[in-house]
Amino acid sequence: MAAEPEKTHIARELKHGQPLITCRFDPTGRFVFASSEDETIQRWDLQAAPSADPAHPKAVSFEGHNGWVYAVAITPDGQTLLSGSSDGQLAWWPAVEEVPRPLRMVSAHRGWLRSLAVRPDGKQAASCGNDAKVRLWSLDDGTCELELPGHSRPVYRVAYTPDGTSLLSADLLGLIIQWDVRSGKEARRFDAAKLHLYERGQAVDYGGVRDLALSHDGAHLAASGLINASNPLGAVSNPAVLIFDWNTGELKKLQHPKEDIKGVAWAVRFHPDGFAILASGGTGGGFLWFTRPAEDHEFFRFQLPNTVRDLDLHPDGIHIATAHHDGIVRLCAMKAKG
């Protein structure tokens, strides 16, 4: 079934009750995971029979972190869940167990672990954190295989290329580095500094790359974040995404909403059909917006009932999960209702 973004609607709500941070589908599409400010990860089985209380579908809780869980990633076989928390711990979990307990905990970063990615072959994971480090981990034994130096400020995102030969890491200053994961050598840099601002009056750095995505045809790299941060401490900024030509590294577009919507583009995914899906949240509300790489603004925007902090695209290409401050995972469908 082809996605119809203009018909996007909320198909289902999964309520946890505590503010959520991030969300991910498993590769089979059966489960959706969401991490919370209460230091847990919640797992919902989307194929399970409806519970007696539709507003509170049964979720399995992953408990063992001693900090907010900022990052969640799942291996391609769907069997292992990785999670990273604000105390720098990286955890391995049995993803589908009924009573999951951590298989392994590793002190991966000094302070806040911000992002995780699993290599497409399922043998390696990458992590990054506020300690400005990027580290590569063996998924088999949990050892650190490589440390990739190059960032000087907190690193916000890591993402593998689909062929698994390269890793991208992106930081607060808008520096994106492409690494050869075999040698650990830097291959090239992308300049996303348009997403960073040093606000002199408030004496703060703000912005940075909040998410990365590569288009399925290998033509584009998207880096999401914010622009126009006239008052960072007061959340006055506009969500934005930079579209780079993957082959040349050239910045092709700076996209932002047509209207003056305040917020941050926390997450971006490319759809197999070529358009990008962004989730933005902030004082202007929560939105999904849909853009095409060659255009300046969105071709469709969908308002959500609460601010958004993350999104993921279901393997079916139709459903989108969004994590919200009100403790709800919302499943939107890009198709007609009914």
């Binding site: 002199r200 004496a203 703060v204 960072p232 949240g281 401050h325």
Partner: protein, 432 residues
């Protein structure tokens, strides 16, 4: 104590900084008269002044630092946020993990965790924390720096009694001294720079400068004999202060400090400003305030506190360590404060908002019992549950710590005014 001529009219609200800012370049040549102050500016004399004086250092965390990300962490609660607490050099006292270097200075610090100032407005909170009184239209009270400069300052000191190092381009030019008179207003060092127009004018000879100063003093004396007011006195005092300042302009130059110290304090403005504060305190300045900006983190509180508190931790811990090593801490009261704290509840922007109901400050040095925690909040930091105090109590405590009697009264504008709010009293548990 009597202040028989000071008034509160706008005509008299001339700050020292404003005056310095208006100085013509010609004044610079008057530095040639510096020999007349030489006896007061020698380092040995400054050291002697420092030994005999009580001094005060205020670190002002502008915007309202979060007590939960600094002095009163509540990890693993619904309000605790993502950061942990860590052990300190005092067993049993834990502070935020964002303060690892400060934690190692805990044996020299005291924490007050039970402040309820009932004031969530920036301006009013600022006033309350600097004057110890609620802001009302009925009266304007002097700020802590002006009070300390007035009652602790030594007129022989060539440096102003109240120096405020600001992160931006300067200060507000406001009348913080109120009825004490403009001579006790702060000298602002915008971004830690030396006051403008205080360098020698190479175009004016020492003899020429001397002659001009003699004429100026003659005219000024004649004018003052008939029309002495707070304003005319402020002009004279400030002019003389400026001349003294010119002889000690090097005090404002932190590049004269060892490169290793600059690195230890941090390669950022706040590090440089704290090093300048050390330099000013060593030179005998009575009251130094350093403002660190900005903590008003309604949005992404944790990222911004990571950044700001990281800067604070490095510079503050180095400064406390140095003040102790150099024998300055025992006679220098140190206070780290804001206009209020931040909400325990974390908002939808990962932010914390204004919160005056239950927050904390840090103290050290002269008159303070170190390694000490006074007051307590509940499990998730939403209420004070032990030893609730307000801004008036803090002001009393600062005065007591430096040996002043906060209940002493003086007269201004025909009114008898107690030094600190009569409705409050000192927090004895904080005092040595």
């Amino acid at each position: 104590m009597r202040c028989s001529y000071a008034c509160n009219s706008p005509d008299h609200l001339l700050s020292r900084r404003q005056f310095l800012g208006n100085l013509g370049a010609g004044l610079g040549a008057a530095a040639g008269l510096g020999a007349g102050f030489a006896g007061f500016t020698a380092p040995a004399v400054s050291a002697e002044l420092a030994r005999n004086q009580r001094q005060v250092l205020v670190i002002w965390l502008a915007g309202g630092a979060s007590q939960l990300e600094t002095w009163d962490p509540k990890p693993k609660t619904d309000t605790g946020g993502p950061f942990r607490s860590i052990e300190t050099s005092v067993p049993g006292i834990r502070i935020s993990e964002l303060l690892p270097k400060t934690a190692m200075q805990m044996h020299r610090l005291a924490l007050l965790r039970s402040i309820n100032t009932h004031e969530d407005d920036h301006g009013k909170g600022h006033y309350l924390m600097h004057t110890g009184r609620a802001q009302t239209p009925a009266a304007v009270y002097p700020h802590l720096g002006s009070v300390m400069a007035r009652w602790l300052g030594d007129e022989r000191n060539p440096l102003p009694g109240y120096i405020h190092i600001t992160p931006g381009g300067g200060g507000k030019g406001s009348s913080e001294a109120a009825f004490l008179g403009p001579k006790y207003n702060p000298l602002y060092l915008g971004n830690g720079q030396a006051p403008a127009n205080t360098a020698d004018d190479p175009g004016l000879s020492p003899l020429g400068a001397s002659g001009r100063q003699a004429v100026r003093m003659h005219l000024s004396d004649r004018f003052a004999r008939r029309r002495r007011t707070a304003e005319t006195e402020a002009y004279t005092t400030t002019y003389e202060q400026a001349l003294k300042l010119m002889t000690r302009r090097d005090v404002f130059d932190v590049t004269k400090e060892p490169a290793a110290d600059l690195e230890r304090y941090g390669s950022h403005d706040f590090g440089r400003h704290c090093l300048l504060a050390r330099r000013l305190l060593e030179a005998g300045t009575t009251f130094v305030q350093v403002t660190h900006s900005n903590y008003d983190t309604h949005n992404e509180n944790f990222d911004f506190h990571l950044e700001q508190v990281g800067e604070f931790d490095q510079a503050f811990a180095s400064l406390i360590d140095d003040l102790a090593a150099r024998g300055l801490l025992q006679h220098t009261l140190v206070v780290v404060m804001s206009e209020f704290g931040r909400t325990p509840r974390i908002n939808y922007l990962y932010g914390r908002d204004h919160w005056s109901k239950a927050w904390s400050i840090c103290l050290a040095g002269a008159g303070i019992a170190p390694g000490n925690v006074v007051g307590k909040t509940n499990a998730n930091g939403t209420e004070v549950v032990d030893r609730e105090v307000g801004g008036g109590h803090l002001f009393h405590t600062y005065l007591r710590a430096v040996g002043l009697d906060p209940t002493e009264s003086f007269e201004a504008d025909g009114r008898v005014i107690q030094l600190a709010d009569p409705a409050a009293s000192a927090i004895d548990e904080l005092l040595a």
